[in-house]
Amino acid sequence: MSIRSRIALFAALFLGMQTLVAEAWDAGLSAILIDRWTVAPCAWLARHLLGQADALAIGSRVVSPAASMNVLFGCDGSDVALLLVAAVLAAPLGWKPRVAGILAGLLFVFSVNQARLLALYCSLLAGGRWFGTLHEVVAPLAVVALVLSFFLALLAFGRPAPAPGPSL
């Protein structure tokens, strides 16, 4: 498959998955992705790692007497997850690294996003002065750089070995 075909496949997969997610969002997906898979673990981590014993997950919010943070559409890591899954599906990889890459990649995106949310929560605990910069400039760059590195590493390690040439 040529590089152009792979780019076209990536774009088609990305747009297709995006449409599915956007359509399912109001039909209950937001409650699963944000409330259950993003906010609840973030509140748990805030309680156990940051010592915020009162931090609670209430709907799409992490709430404590010290700070409250609302997690919105696009803040759950699904944006980079969709990009990564589409890129892995379109990449020149064998099926084993492809499946492993998607599973490990989703776990990686989840972890990176939780770290991002915890950093944002810490910035709120510290008064919120750097929240805007962290939220809009630093965190997106860090998340994309990390996920891109994961993808490039997967490409480097998961590429099918070239067929052995004729021996002399």
């Binding site: 990305f14 747009l15 995006q18 997610v21 956007a22 559409f73 696009g74 699904s78 944006d79 980079v80 969709l82 990009l83 919120g128 002065r129 929240f131 805007g132 910069t133 939220h135 809009e136 400039v137 630093v138 997106p140 760059l141 860090a142 994309v144 750089a145 891109l148 590195s149 490039l152 590493a153 480097a156 390690f157």
Partner: protein, 203 residues
């Protein structure tokens, strides 16, 4: 394999270096960059937004974030929803978009364009930066102004017909669900390919 690892490590170091520099520049010059972007954004919105007229477009500090604030009024009377509610010019609609969205695309696209390995020296980097700047300007033009337009449209539409979807709302969803990153990465990839080609290499 070892070569790949080395190249990946160097790429990450450069990405970290250029990224930190660009983030610092965005923090220091974020406000003037946003203010400079307002007049071309206004001109672009006048061209593409056939539904509303801008009453006000400005950057303003709201709480902890720098926002781009737009107030619009319908350009002409229009009919909305199944109950055919007529919206007349004069009705004011306010929308806000974080100024960070504008900087985010620029910082991400430029950091990637600078960090990607260079094969043919300074000429390639120069071409890459020029092409990246043009492509990222296009990406920004398709992002923040159209989001402001989409939010105004959506605030009217969702009040009378929440089920209805429009191309603008789809575009907003595309940007929020990774499309903004895809545009920035695409601009950086395009600039890298152009730089390599123009400096005599093969992509």
């Amino acid at each position: 394999m070892r070569e790949w690892r080395g190249e990946l490590r160097n790429f990450l170091f450069r990405l970290f270096g250029f990224g930190s520099l660009l983030v610092a520049l965005a923090v220091v010059f974020g406000e003037p960059i946003t203010r400079t972007a307002i007049p071309p954004m206004q001109a672009w919105l006048e061209l593409v937004d056939r539904s509303y007229v801008s009453v006000r477009l400005e950057s303003r500090q709201e709480g902890r974030e720098l926002m781009i604030h737009r107030e619009v009024t319908p350009r002409h009377p229009h009919v909305l929803g199944p109950r055919q509610r007529i919206v007349m010019p004069g009705t004011l609609i306010e929308t806000n978009v974080s100024a960070g969205l504008l900087l985010q695309t620029l910082v991400l696209g430029l950091a990637l364009a600078c960090a990607w390995p260079v094969r043919r020296g300074w000429r390639e980097i120069g071409i890459r930066l020029v092409v990246a700047s043009v492509l990222l300007a296009v990406a920004v033009a398709l992002d923040v102004p159209l989001l402001l337009y989409a939010f105004a449209w959506n605030s009217e539409q969702s009040a009378v017909d929440p089920e209805a979807r429009s191309l603008l709302v789809y575009w907003g969803d595309f940007l929020q669900l990774g499309g903004r990153y895809a545009l920035a990465i695409g601009a950086a990839a395009g600039a890298t390919a152009a730089g390599r080609r123009a400096s005599g290499g093969v992509f």
